[in-house]
Amino acid sequence: MKKVLTGNHAVSYGAMIARAEVVAAYPITPQTQIVEKLSEMCADGDLDARFIKVESEHSAMAACIGASASGARAFTATSSQGLALMDEMLHWASHARLPIVMANINRSLGPPWTIWTDQNDTISRRDTGWIQFYCESNQEVIDTMIMAFKIAEQVKLPAFLTLDSFYLSHTSEAVELPDQKLVDEYLPKYQAETDLDPTKGSPAYGSLTTDQWYFELQIKMQRAMEQAYDVILKENDLFKKVFGRSYLPVEGYRTDDADYVVFVSGTIASTIKDAIDRARENGIKVGSAKVRLFRPFPKTMIREMAKGRKRLGVIDRNISYGSEGAFFTEIKSALYSQSEHPEIHGFIAGLGGRDVTVDSAYEMIRLVVETSPEKDINWQGAKL
């Protein structure tokens, strides 16, 4: 059944259809509608979940950790300052190997106070050990909500998905609601690895570990991330079979015969398609490659996508101060070991919600096609 939904409500419906059992969240613009809708769904009996009203985002994640460790499918949503506030708990959730799912609306961090979009809030959390998806449409959001639980619960790592503030969170568009029966078959009930039942003599979790074994526990976590990559591909195949939709970690648009490829993420990945079409009409063999998966970073697919191209570009809607855009760094790093090293432009666009239009995207495509990169950072759409 197709329904016009905002990105935020697509998240809510996703949590409902995935049968989340505990929702603990604190409101923050632009995520509030997610949680309002979920509490309505709980009140109406459409979602059989325990809704915990917490006093901060740090508590929200702490509550999810407790819930997940006790065997409940836990979900939360936040953004920007809220995500930053729960940072300590993000590390806890992943090190404790708990398959919590979180939706984060990408909103820039203050000061100055802002509510518009860029990716710095989640990019600055890339090292927390969470599996990370960047979405470009509301359909992708609801589908990713369902897949995220399935993936997280298999590899026992938490996962978050992101939506650009306003350009997805508050944007209404038609979404196919996955059929509940099919989702129930696709996504079985969560079985916790941990057991906090005191009558069963439960062990203590997370207590002091000396330098004798901490290192090896982290190796196990890294191995789980590597395993997650294979699980993500497997689940995507299965999702395609059941629901007819597929989302590869790196997905090309008109890249088959492209001489030039521009890597993009989030809603820019959607907008740039119109610019690619325009360039193609002008006879330029260019394509765009959307990077949906950030952790584990899809090095193999990046290498495949970059093969045989004359020049590449990367558009980051984020910046690691003192360095460069995060996708730019990761992509170059993935290509380092290869024999081909095409020139690669690094663009930074859209920080703080600065609009990235089809025209702006076209200008970046033009620069990739017509020029060689001079600097690692090329600000696009800024007032310089």
């Binding site: 632009p30 306003f166 568009e173 038609a174 609009d355 239009t357």
Partner: protein, 186 residues
């Protein structure tokens, strides 16, 4: 692709208008995209919202700078906001006002390449008891005007969507859309 931009004051319903309109067009088989341009949220502050309609999937995700149609929920808003900014040649501008097209054209110097429509949505809203006399809910009436002027949504489907979305007085709100739809001559 058709791009529509709504202008209003916070509290008049410009933000919800875009979603209701998109839903109506969707039920009529179109691909749709609608979102408000978020700003400082308070009553009376200028707000904009956007609707894109197309037969094929819509991929552009940014504000609308060159609308085909503009709907202005309040005439006094035009004192501070240039609602005509970027209107495509041959586009339309529909204004909620009690003045005639000629009057408003003259008073505001609106001589661009777009057709102007006026409708007294405030009067219709007040008559139907929508909102208060000082703060009438004009968005549903203006939606009817939008459907008529742009020809992009079926009025019956629009009335359905308005009735579903209205937090109160669903029939009166749908009625408001119908009245303006019939009042405007294109």
């Amino acid at each position: 692709m058709v791009e529509i931009r709504f202008h209003g004051r916070g509290g008049q319903g410009a933000a919800s208008a875009c979603t209701i309109y998109a839903d109506a067009a969707f039920r009529g088989g179109k691909s749709v995209q609608a979102f408000p341009m978020y700003g400082v949220e308070r009553r009376g502050a200028p707000v904009q919202s956007f609707v894109r309609l197309d037969d094929s999937p819509i991929r552009a995700r940014h504000n609308i700078y060159t609308p085909d149609h503009v709907i202005a929920l309040s005439e006094t808003l035009m004192n501070t906001v240039d609602c005509t900014a970027g209107i495509k040649a041959g586009g339309t501008l529909t204004i909620n006002t009690d003045k005639s097209v000629e009057q408003i054209k003259k008073e505001r110097g609106l001589d661009g390449d777009y057709k102007i429509f006026t409708v007294n949505a405030t009067k219709i809203a007040v008559e139907l008891g929508l909102g208060s006399v000082t703060s009438p809910i004009v968005n549903t009436a203006m939606l009817g005007a939008a459907a008529r002027v742009t020809g992009t949504a079926d009025i019956k489907l629009l009335m359905e969507c308005v009735a579903e979305a209205a937090p109160s007085k669903p029939e009166k709100n749908a009625e408001a859309a119908k009245e303006t739809f019939e009042a405007i001559k294109v």
